[in-house]
Amino acid sequence: MHSIVVEGLTKYYGDLCAVDHVSFTVDAGEVFGYLGPNGAGKTTTIRMLTGLTRPSEGRAWVAGYDILNETLEVKRRIGVVPEASNLYDELTVWENLEFISRLYHVPRAERHRRIRELLKLFDLWDRRDSRFRRLSRGLKRRAVLAAALINDPEILFLDEPTTGLDVVSARSLRGLVGRLREMGKTIFLTTHYIEEADQLCDRVAIIVRGRIRAIDTPENLKLRAGVKAILEVELSDRPPASLLERLRGLEVEGRQLRVHTDNPQEILRLLTGEIGRSGLRLLSLRSRSPTLEDAFIKLTGLSPEVMRREKGI
């Protein structure tokens, strides 16, 4: 059963086509990743699906309701974690959740019980009387996630949930997303962190410049991209041009070499011989299986470094 059905959804801002006829479905209980660089159209897609922006073309149904004609029914059944932690600075964590519960018409009898449960689930119970502005970035994200769950939504939209968080907070938040999946929630997650999509998502759509390039499970994307095993080598110095000429297809970053191959043993034999002849020393050698990042590079032609730089990380 599909929780989200999208058909040819498109958004123009003037002449700019931010989202270009995207179509996909998300199954109930699935964690669906929407992966792409800044400006790819991730947030615009989420805004259209959550009723915050009107599509220029196309249609979509969320929880069985038309996003254009039954927007309020859609909003009743979803929770949204926007990229900015936009709860109210002047209210305490408890007051914020109480306010949101009223906006979502949570019955008075259930309201306090649900707030208590969420505060405990997200380890915010001890901070319930703290003003929102006094929380750390990580705690703010947790509070926003708790607010998104106040109406016990069928579908949760998470827009770049871990952006700007330190490593520990990001890991903890990913753990929470995992728990929400166990609770049976359908999760639509946008991210520019490839490893996050790889870890959390059942399926991933790769979107670049408003267009979906591929949709599949992370494993199938790796297979589809035809990514080979990777040998990574660190040398004592930058490799001379002669070495690079002899071993074509090497990727070079300073003193590091990377080669994609379906015959690592043969490449390793050639590489060690050539390195020895160049008078260099081999400092480290690593062989690894392809990752989603490798598949992403192959499928989009983009460097993941570009995505990190664009987000200012």
Partner: protein, 243 residues
């Protein structure tokens, strides 16, 4: 069920706005000080004839009370993304708008109430028709707050809202009968005066404190019309922003 949900949403937003913004100590003190300073300034400058001026002073307090903080609240929330939090909720734009307008009206009502108290105690203003006074003031607060909402939802920044508000506020003070009776204005200015909501506020308050010079029912109807037009235009601005 739907109506109850919408009303609950309006009430929740109103309470939140009062708690998070309007009822902060600096705003309360401004709300008390502003009318006191205004009343004292006029008392010291010209202690005679202030009874005639009193309804105008209350109207001015209503104008500044409704439009000043509301513009800050809406543009601030727009800026930090908190307004979007309301758009995410299962509420119509009309309910969000009404909640914001009520917030401005309640704060304006507080300042007007302080000014009324000062006018009654210091300036000797007598309210001959309390129901007309309360009803007229309440309608004026809604109309002026709707004008404030229209301005706030049409711009992006706090300073833009304040500048644009002043384009309306200052001409209204001079044209709408606060200091100079509208009847004594040259014809072109009189035409402009009757196109501004504050004129009808002043007329209504004057009618309820002195003797009615025009039909108060017409003033009430015109204020309802102003409110409806401002609300419709603001609703359109909100929908345009959504597109």
């Amino acid at each position: 069920m739907r109506l109850r949900d919408e009303l609950e949403g309006i009430y929740a937003i109103l309470l939140k706005d009062l708690k998070a913004y309007y009822l902060k100590p600096p705003n309360i003190s401004w709300g008390i000080l502003f009318p006191i300073v205004l009343a004292l300034a006029f008392t010291l400058r010209n202690p005679r004839g202030l009874r005639d001026l009193a309804p105008g002073l209350v109207a001015m307090a209503a104008l500044f009370g409704t439009t000043s903080m509301e513009a800050i609240v809406v543009t601030f929330e727009k800026r930090v993304g908190a307004l979007e939090r309301l758009y995410m909720a299962p509420l119509t734009y009309a309910s969000i708008l009404l909640a914001k307008v009520l917030g401005g009206a309640v704060f304006g009502g507080f300042i007007s109430a302080v000014m009324t108290l000062l006018c009654v105690t210091l300036l000797g203003m007598r309210i001959s028709h309390p129901l007309l006074y309360a009803g007229g003031l309440a309608l004026s607060l809604i109309a002026l707050s709707s004008l404030g909402a229209l301005i706030a939802f049409s711009v992006r920044e706090v300073f833009e809202a304040q500048t644009l508000s002043n384009y309306f506020r200052f001409p209204m003070i001079f044209l709408c009968g606060v200091f100079i009776p509208v009847g004594s204005l040259p014809l072109p200015l009189r035409v402009v005066a009757y196109m501004l909501p504050l004129t009808y506020t002043v007329e209504l308050l004057r009618a309820s404190t002195l003797s009615p010079s025009t039909c108060p029912l017409l003033d009430l109807a015109i204020l309802i019309l102003f409110s409806a037009v401002f609300l419709l235009l603001t609703h359109r601005a909100m929908r345009r922003a959504y597109g």
